[in-house]
């Protein structure tokens, strides 16, 4: 694919050019490609789907069929910082539900909501693999563990400050 027509940054386009050569079949690059595209664009827009389909050589429907299967892939924008609170059994036993409720109050949004300024979005998620350090949450790809409502506030405040101080 020529770099002139890509919607991705030159770095990502180059990464995709390489990615499709790594596997015995091009299509194996699909899931990683969708993840990296989402990291750059924020979500899997129509334009992303179209270009990924073209790069792999499958239909847009094929791509959408895969997107709808995976919980980390989204077709709508999330907040700049996507707060994912685990409430699965190990987190539940150690206060995961309380952390989720606390985040709803602190951010003023419901589950799967996005704050008005677009800084945060909140999602209740299934086990994230932090069971021995529960309760835990992930903000984008960063883990935060052994949480209390107070330490969760600190975590949110740090991201808020990074975003430029807006609520």
């Amino acid at each position: 694919m020529s770099t002139a027509t890509t919607i991705f940054s030159p770095e990502l386009a180059a990464r995709f050019d390489k990615l499709v050569t790594l596997y015995p079949v091009k299509r194996s690059a699909l899931v990683p490609m969708l993840l990296y595209a989402q990291d750059e664009v924020g979500y899997l827009s129509d334009a992303v789907v179209a270009e990924v389909a073209e790069r792999i050589g499958i239909t847009e429907l094929d791509v959408r069929n895969v997107i709808s299967y995976y919980s980390l892939l989204r077709t709508k924008p999330a907040g700049k910082y996507h707060v994912q609170v685990c409430t699965n059994i190990c987190c539940m036993l150690r206060g995961g539900n309380e952390i989720l409720e606390h985040c709803k109050k602190s951010l003023g949004v419901a589950n799967k909501g996005v704050t008005a300024d677009g800084v945060f979005s909140l999602e209740e998620v299934e086990c994230i693999g932090a069971c021995s350090w529960a309760p835990a949450a992930q903000v984008n790809y960063d883990f935060h563990e052994n949480l209390t409502p107070e330490s969760m506030d600190k975590v949110l405040a740090e991201y808020r400050a990074k975003a430029g101080g807006g609520k």
Binding site: L35, L72, N88, M92, E126, C127, G129, C131, S132
Partner: protein, 435 residues
């Protein structure tokens, strides 16, 4: 960043290099790294598989299948290329061990993949991490690049004339993809829907070629078996259960954490001595011994050795090594409901008994927990769960049904206490749940 927890009874084999800077290849080499791969190049396929069988290593993903035997099922001659696929899609609730391996000793996974490849004459391996572990992908990618730069991967590895490539990637959030056949589908760029077996992956796997699929802990253990010797390794564990295991202790414990202990370690001791017992002087109510899909054990059932056979004899499974401890204040209906909510969310929808069964079980448990159920519902929950068993392409249906059956059987009285509009005696339940 999480670290391995230790106890005087800890036996560091897989975690031997943790915290020693082995993320860097030079440090890894200094700590006897890539010696096992060199040894295996000399041993050849039959020699490797012989040692693996002698080690009594059994799959750490949950099923506990003997690893050496699994490798021996791969046909020697194959028209299609053979592959090694490392399952690092760790997603079973209660399990957080593979994460530590990738973080602290990424080269052990690479070296193990390479040895698995040599044992069946595969030329390519894939290391698949769960999507949530993106920070670990960066660690693994760097480690793979280092191994290429040293000539341990790529063309003519260690000057042996053999080529071997490794590709690392993550998934994108799907418990189901931790199942071997769904994992292959995902790696082929598709929805993670399970395949019917037979044929088994050892014969027809990834891209139609014979494929070894092993859990990340299993693979990371392989170089250590050659480091300390198969007989020595086997001696650490119990009969037919060689070596150590990374046990993930979670829930109501004073010292939750991931501990490396010998196979067969007593569960009661694990809870009270290694994990420090239950906080606040509370009583133990139940233990989920091997991740959320394993049937719950009562306090009087925990004086057992934690190996595949002994836990099996106690009516449960060693599973993924996730030991979840519940104190006396836990409502078992709520716990069963939360477990089912997970399986309903993760059911891929391919097999009807699982898709419909998990949905109806979640609805029934929600109603029961809220106090809106009638007597008959308790038996219906069991009936539904029992009819899911063995009727699906992959074990997700069983994984949802088995713990549910055990919850109802062992805590029937508590289920009955929720009847006749009483609702949960331990929690207030929102009225919306009554619908």
């Amino acid at each position: 960043m999480p670290v391995i927890s230790t106890h005087p009874d800890s036996v560091p084999v897989v975690s031997w290099r943790f915290g020693k800077g082995a993320v860097s290849i030079d440090k890894y080499i200094e700590l006897e790294g890539y010696q096992a791969a060199r040894k295996c190049l000399e041993l050849g396929p039959d020699g490797i598989i012989g040692e693996m069988k002698a080690s009594n290593l059994r799959g750490r993903g949950g099923a506990g299948f003997p690893t050496g035997m699994k490798w021996s099922f791969v046909p020697k001659q194959s028209a299609k290329p053979k592959y090694v696929l490392v399952n690092g899609d760790e997603s079973e609730p209660g399990t957080c061990k593979d994460r530590l391996i990738f973080e602290h000793d990424p080269h052990s996974v690479i070296e193990g993949t390479l040895i698995a490849g040599l044992s069946v004459q595969a030329r390519m391996g894939f290391i698949y991490l769960r999507g949530e572990y993106r920070y670990l992908l960066r660690i693994m990618e760097r480690a793979v690049d280092e191994a290429y730069a040293k000539g341990f991967l790529g063309k003519n590895i260690f000057g042996s004339g053999i080529d071997f490539d490794i590709v690392t990637q993550t998934g994108a959030g799907a418990y189901e993809v931790g199942e071997e056949s769904a994992l292959m589908e995902s790696l082929e760029g598709k929805r993670g829907i399970p395949r019917i077996r037979p044929p088994f992956p050892a014969v027809v796997g990834l891209y139609g070629g014979p494929t070894i699929i092993n859990n990340a802990e299993t693979i990371a253990t392989v170089p250590h078996i050659f480091r300390i010797g198969a007989a020595e390794y086997a001696k650490i564990g119990t009969e037919r259960n060689g070596g150590t295991r990374l046990f993930c202790l979670s829930g109501h414990l004073e010292r939750p954490g991931v501990y490396e202990l010998p196979m067969g370690y007593n569960l009661k001791k694990m809870i009270y001595e290694v994990g420090g017992g239950i906080p606040g002087g509370k009583k133990l109510k139940a233990v989920v011994p091997g991740g959320s899909s394993t049937p719950v054990l009562l306090p009087e059932e925990i004086d057992i050795g934690m190996d595949f056979d002994q836990v099996g004899k106690a009516g449960s499974m060693l599973g993924s090594g996730g030991v979840v401890v519940l104190d006396e204040d836990v409502c078992m209906v709520e716990f069963a409901l939360r477990t089912m909510k997970f399986y309903r969310h993760e059911s891929c929808g391919w097999c009807i008994p699982c898709r419909e069964g998990t949905d109806w079980l979640e609805k029934s448990l929600t109603r029961l927990h809220a106090g809106g159920a009638v007597d008959k519902d308790i038996d219906n929950i069991r009936y539904l769960a029992e009819n899911m068993l063995g009727r699906t392409f992959c074990p997700l249906g069983d994984a949802a049904a088995m713990p549910t059956i055990a919850f109802v059987k062992k805590f029937r009285k508590e289920f009955e206490d929720h009847l006749e509009g009483r609702g949960c005696p331990k929690h207030r339940v929102p009225e919306a749940a009554l619908v």
